[in-house]
Symmetry: C2
Subunit: 401 residues, 2 copies
């Protein structure tokens, strides 16, 4: 029969393919060193423990694992999350915890439940692309807050806060900035938020991946009552299981759960019992020291390589944890325009402009050291250094960042 | 710190808790026989095959299974779905297939990508509650089309079609109606749709659960080009794995994939490799005859019990497959109002009004025979029969349905 084109929803104009996801395919190519992905290192996956946990779950509660379960998540896993957050100074009861399919799903549910068309949503510059993508579908008015290595700038934050529906922050080892909220900055921001009818969303998947010292408390741990916390098992266990959580104030948690029902009913029962088994058996806890050590070595390798190979005028963040380094080239260079040449030389990165809600930061890029071994990191950064050096010579007007 | 209530998004006024999900907790209570759930029978779960498949996946491709993967789903599973649909007369290439976390997620993505506030969305009366819930958040104007045992009535459908954004149908063994589109009805509807710039969504999770004869082709298999097909592994394998699919026209599939990225990145890599292993090893195919036989026996038991115990004036559907029977009480009886008494006597069902977009069908209820053994079905229906009989005597003005 003939095809009669039918219209799409207007919000599809806000649909964007993620630059990160589009570059994900490169991670499997042997001729490309991908500093783009931010994929956890496969060496950190506790394969043997997962195998044992699968067998145990299927031996002890096969029907629970394969059947439908509660939309909010299985009770013992919600209890584990509440206890874990409590130990970090964030006090939520288990019934305020919703198990999600990764923290990306938390972002979508937050967008659905909190954002109207035109709602002011405060985000750092740069901010996490997946949040911009998820929130963007609900047509907010994004307000980009300039940030430095300590977090969002207090004056800019205070100026933008009145009337804002929500503020989205990453308190620890941010993606892509590689920054954490400092003690001083947090002490400035917390009272501003506490006085505002604005939701705070703290997206916190990297808190456990610290290298020298555990992170300072975020704003929820400092008592901001309207805080919604997002966490994930993807970075400390395995992303392929797709499990994370939201912990939310009592006013909000039931709304998120209802939105969750409509979105996809629930997260995999099997994955939830599996992760609970891995938590109880200690596999996650036992894996953390080696995981931190692996990523710390790679971070060190990346920072040393940047120091050795980057031309004058290039700056970068020095993360105390997480998976990412944010690089700022001299003004006038365009990291997106240079990407095809970098790929031609066998190196991938994510152009920073995708993370900037104003679309201005064209001279920036995100590097991830998480899934590349140290020897290849050095060679890849040498390649990028030479490329940027060459580009700088061709653009003498470029100014130091 | 003090709490400053911050506003929610306007669309939260459309959030409804699902009556089905709210009653799900009853399924585990030993003092209640739940005809409410529609849960697959745990006896049908191929536990031993799942155990072997877990071991094999973790032995042969542990890193693929535990790492991030493509948003659209893993290629061999998309190929399996395309081949499966092709064998049923629905022609989609693998790149038109998106693996989802159950078909409920497909409904949400369709809402996101196709429904604007006020878009006319045609649904049968009754229709699947999860679809009403998912679509409802995007604030459509629902248009309820009266249906009989053969599907939506052609005149009502033709009258409502002009200007409609999408029509949502369940071609086979519908939830809650227990009906299938007849050959004659399909032959009436297909040309109407083919001439309309309206998307067709065919939600088809029960097609494999037929009792006497395989189902007739639906509208997509009859050539309606703007058809989006939704399928699921929940009913033929296990719902706790949360895997299903959408197959969509070329114009639509990439938009659904982008919306999927923003929603939760991807379905579990582990679950996808696991299901692929189970499909390739033949566990799903091998399980179908016993699964059909089990449900057929329970359907027969439910129909026989209704015949034996229901008072005059009560009508019900006679499904040729699937998991549900739709019961219509005499006008004047209110199934929602009677539910507390039914629960008090140890039997649960879902009041039908939740499935009616007009909220009028108060004299209806949904019964599921899927997870209750035959002996308990008879006793439960005897209880309901006595309850309805009693209610009828108390309401002499009630008219035969």
């Amino acid at each position: 029969m003939t095809w009669h084109a039918a219209p799409l929803a207007g919000r599809t104009e806000f649909l964007r393919s993620s630059a990160i996801r589009d570059l994900l395919g490169l991670a499997g190519r042997s001729d490309i060193v991908s500093l783009a992905g931010g994929l956890p290192a496969t060496e950190t996956f506790p394969v043997e423990a997962v195998r044992e946990a699968c067998a145990r779950v299927l031996a002890t509660r096969p029907h629970d694992a394969l059947q439908y379960g509660p939309s909010e998540g299985i009770a013992p896993l919600r209890e584990w999350v509440a206890a874990h957050l409590g130990a970090r100074g964030m006090h939520f009861d288990p019934d305020q915890v919703l198990i999600t399919s990764g923290s990306q799903q938390g972002l979508d549910l937050i967008g659905k439940v909190l954002i109207d068309a035109g709602s002011a949503v405060l985000v750092e510059r740069p901010s996490y692309l997946g949040a911009l993508q998820a929130f963007g579908l609900y047509a907010p008015r994004f307000v980009g807050i300039d940030a430095d290595a300590e977090g969002p700038l207090p004056l800019a934050f205070a100026a933008a806060l009145p009337g804002a529906r929500l503020a989205y922050l990453q308190p620890h080892f941010s993606n892509p900035g590689g920054c954490s909220l400092s003690d001083t900055r947090a002490a400035h921001l917390a009272p501003l938020l506490a006085a505002a009818p604005t939701w705070l969303v703290e997206d916190d998947p990297y808190a456990e991946i610290w290298f020298e010292t555990p992170p300072q408390p975020g704003l929820i741990a400092r008592g901001v009552a309207q805080g919604v916390h997002l966490g994930s098992f993807s970075k400390v266990l395995a992303p392929g299981l797709r499990l994370g959580w939201i912990a939310a104030p009592r006013e909000l948690a039931p709304k998120l759960a209802q939105a969750r029902q409509a979105a996809d009913l629930q997260s995999s029962s099997f994955a939830q019992w599996l992760v609970l088994e891995l938590l109880r058996g200690g596999a996650v806890e036992r894996g953390l020291p080696a995981l931190r050590q692996l990523y710390r070595g790679r971070r060190d390798a990346l920072l040393a390589a940047l120091q050795a190979h980057m031309p004058a005028g290039v700056r970068w963040s020095r993360p105390g944890g997480g998976l990412f380094v944010w690089v700022t080239l001299p003004h006038g260079l365009d990291a997106a325009a240079l990407l095809p040449q970098a790929l031609g030389r066998g190196v991938a990165y994510v152009p920073g402009v995708s993370f900037d809600v104003r679309g201005e930061a064209r001279n920036t890029l995100r590097l991830s050291y998480s899934s590349v071994d140290e020897a290849r990191i050095d060679a890849a950064i040498a390649t990028l250094g030479a490329l940027f050096e060459h580009a700088l010579r061709a653009a003498p007007e470029a100014r130091a960042a």
